[in-house]
């Protein structure tokens, strides 16, 4: 199975939300990283056929979305960011409704609904109205509905946003369970979410792919550029103003700084193995810092 994005563009007036994106996706988990406004959601909406590209096309196994019609959507599972529910429906009713929209037969719909509600641990509240659910429960219901038709292409837009750390771990595991033999595109600006489960990292900035690398080698480009240094409080402030400090940790009256820089910021600085978060901060700098502080 091949999902091809060919010269995909989406312009809003003069703003280029997605600008000439081309790639071919085969089964695997793709972590789509980028700061807010990078174009991730726009790209995912186009892949899901709910937003028309200004130009370019999307093909599944050589055929465009328009050519495939319903057959394209039959392959798709989508969990949009902050999507709404029907508050007066119970979880079970919502799942059965979505199963009907996805074209599942009555028996299959019931079976899948029970399976998935159990898998996302909502089976005990299946007959409770969704308006009584917490954010985490709604997110779990969201991914369960995306999985109803056992899609070949699973698109998850910021699925862990708003979840506490425990819920996020639980969610990551769920996604890993669902990801077998599928194209999974997982968009997030929370780097740690994808670092555990992604096979490939797609990094977006200003509507284009900044990089597209296997997870194993994605940080190679900043090897030797991540430094750690133990300094005093006064020096820490000085380094922070001069360098990109990605982490700051107090140790016995001193401060351990983690910095990204092409050369050693000080003679005593030592290089450390880069993480995905370092790479993210290296590319997004202040944008990412702002988001992290939020």
């Amino acid at each position: 199975m091949e999902l091809q994005l060919q010269h995909l563009c989406k312009h809003y007036g003069t703003k280029r939300a997605v600008d000439d994106v081309s790639t071919t996706l085969t089964p695997g988990v793709y972590g789509l990283l980028g700061a807010n406004g990078a174009g991730k959601t726009t790209l995912m909406r186009m892949i899901c056929g709910v937003l028309k590209p200004t130009s370019g096309r999307i093909c599944l196994n050589g055929k465009t979305i328009d050519e495939l019609g319903e057959n394209y959507y039959a392959h798709l599972g989508y969990m949009p960011q902050d999507f709404g529910f029907y508050p007066d429906f119970t979880a079970r009713e919502f799942m059965l409704y979505m199963a009907a929209v996805k074209g599942l037969g009555k028996q299959e719909a019931k079976k899948r609904t029970e399976e998935l509600l159990k898998l996302v641990n909502l089976h005990e509240v299946a007959d409770k109205k969704i308006k009584s659910f917490s954010g985490g429960m709604k997110q779990r219901l969201g991914i369960a509905q995306a999985e109803l038709n056992a899609p070949d292409i699973l698109i998850l837009d910021e699925p862990t946003a708003g979840l506490d750390p425990k819920e996020r771990v639980r969610f990551r595991n769920l996604i890993s369970d669902f990801a077998k033999e599928k194209i999974v595109i997982l968009s997030t600006h929370i780097v740690s979410d994808v670092s555990y489960i992604a096979d490939t990292i797609l990094m977006m900035k200003d509507g284009t792919f900044l990089l597209q690398e296997p997870m194993a080698t994605v940080t190679d480009s900043i090897n030797g550029k991540v430094w750690e240094l133990l300094v005093s409080d006064r020096e820490a402030a000085e380094y922070s103003s001069r360098f990109s400090v990605v982490n700051l940790h107090h140790e016995n009256g001193k401060v351990r700084l983690r910095m990204i820089h092409d050369t050693a910021p000080a003679a005593e600085a030592i290089t450390v193995p880069p993480s995905l978060e370092d790479l993210f901060l290296y590319h997004f700098g202040e944008e990412a810092e702002t988001e992290r502080s939020e």
Binding site: R45, C48, G49, V50, L51, K52, E70, Y73, A74, L76, Y78, M79, P80, D82, F83, G84, F85, Y86, D88, F89, E93, L96, Y97, M98, A100, V101, K102, G103, K106, Q145, N149
Partner: protein, 408 residues
């Protein structure tokens, strides 16, 4: 299955129940008002409500008769004889009228019948009561139906109506199907129904308010992305939404119709359903009984409803929130309420008679017709065709609007 869930989505909303309950109450109040306010008189004073209705029905029972020329002549003669005795006659400085037992025994029980007969002999647009009957020359009897025909001729040839020959021929042909002699009888319940159809506009608005979020509610709630990216999101789901909307609209409106028609019929009775419309106004050209006229107009009202549901769905598919839908819809439904026709011809009047509000009013006695080349059609037919066409045009556009919706 999809239809069931879409229907449930409409039905489960608290706002649906509130809007429907409120509009049912308004409809019940408006159609129950003629019962509550009903009053009639006898020599002892006023009789109100159900008691008054029962009294009138009892009085009218004696006059459920075929209006043959002989019967009409005899009735006129009876009134003329009453006027011949000066002790029976009062004068208010403007016109004569009967007083005391002459009025209460000779006129009151059949005043509507006498007024109808009197009106048959005066010019169109001229009012007349029983006190005009003494002016008629019945020395050689009277031909009630020839007088009716003459009045209709005068009406058709009235310069202010500016009717073409084709229109006159159309109305003459329609009128020729009216059976004579008419059978007179009690028809108060049906008269109230036929003159109150426009009050169903509140029910129509309520249906539109409930239907407004069918598409736009998905955009507003953010569920559009999930359903539009599903296999049947742009195809069968759209159809299911439309069918569920019509199902809800049809059923809930029918509930209103049952209340609207049921209250007057429960109070005034079903009597008069098989009587001709002409006993209310002899110049009405339609060969319908009261029941037939009510059903024909109800059919038109349903077509208006279906077109308005279609328009609501189209707006809903195109607009981002149900409130925007209502901002457009409410003026379409209610601005015509404040516009009055100044005749029955001209683009302004002919357009006005086709707008949703006016289309619910039967206007059976107004001779409103539309000419397309040599083809003449009456208001019922044009309204039916227009609203059926509008429904047929709006639904594909609503479907397309939802299918092409861009999630933002």
């Amino acid at each position: 299955m999809l239809i069931k869930y879409e229907f449930l989505k409409i039905l489960r909303k608290k706002s649906t129940l509130i809007v429907m309950a409120a509009s049912l109450l308004v409809t019940a109040f408006l159609f129950g008002l003629p019962v509550l306010q009903f009053q009639t008189y006898n020599q002892d004073g006023v009789i109100k409500g159900l008691e008054g209705i029962a009294y009138e029905k009892e009085q009218a029972a004696d006059y459920s008769v075929p209006l043959t020329n002989e019967y009409v002549t005899e009735t006129i003669r009876e009134v003329q004889q009453l006027f011949e005795n000066p002790d029976n006659v009062g004068f208010d400085g403007y016109e004569q009228f009967l007083i005391d037992s002459a009025y209460w025994d000779g006129i009151a029980p059949r005043e509507d019948l006498l007024n109808m007969i009197a009106k048959n002999y005066v010019n169109p647009n001229e009012s007349a009561g029983y006190n005009k009957l003494p002016e008629l020359d019945i020395s050689e009897g009277t031909d009630f139906y020839a007088a009716r025909q003459e009045k209709i001729e005068r009406l058709l040839n009235d310069a202010s109506r500016a009717m073409s020959e084709e229109q006159k021929a159309y109305w003459q042909d329609t009128n020729s199907k009216v059976d004579a002699p008419f059978t007179y009888g009690y028809y108060d319940g049906w008269e109230i129904i036929i003159s109150s159809f426009e009050l169903l506009m509140f029910a129509l608005l309520a249906v539109c308010i409930v239907i407004a979020p069918v598409f736009s509610g998905e955009y507003q709630a953010g569920t559009d992305a999930v359903i539009l990216s599903a296999k049947y999101g742009k195809t069968k789901l759209t159809t299911a939404k439309i069918i569920a909307s019509y199902l809800f609209g049809g059923l809930s409106f029918t509930l209103h119709v049952v209340v609207a028609l049921g209250l007057p019929l429960a109070a005034f009775g079903f009597d008069g359903w098989d009587l001709p419309l002409q006993i209310a106004n002899t110049t009405i050209p339609y060969p319908f009984t009261f029941l037939q006229a009510a059903l024909v107009n109800l059919g038109v009202v349903y077509l208006v409803l279906f077109a308005m549901i279609g328009l609501t769905l189209l707006l809903s598919a195109k607009m981002k929130s149900p409130y925007l839908v209502l901002i457009v819809l409410v003026p379409v439904l209610f601005i015509p309420l404040f516009l009055s026709p100044n005749g029955t011809t001209g683009i302004y009047n002919l357009t006005l008679f086709l707008l949703p509000y006016r289309s619910t009013i039967p206007e059976v006695g107004k001779y409103i017709s539309y000419q397309f080349g040599g083809l003449v059609l009456d208001a019922f037919t044009v309204r039916a065709i227009l609203y059926a066409l509008l429904t047929a045009a709006m639904l594909p556009l609503a479907r397309l609007g939802f299918k092409k919706h861009q999630v933002s």
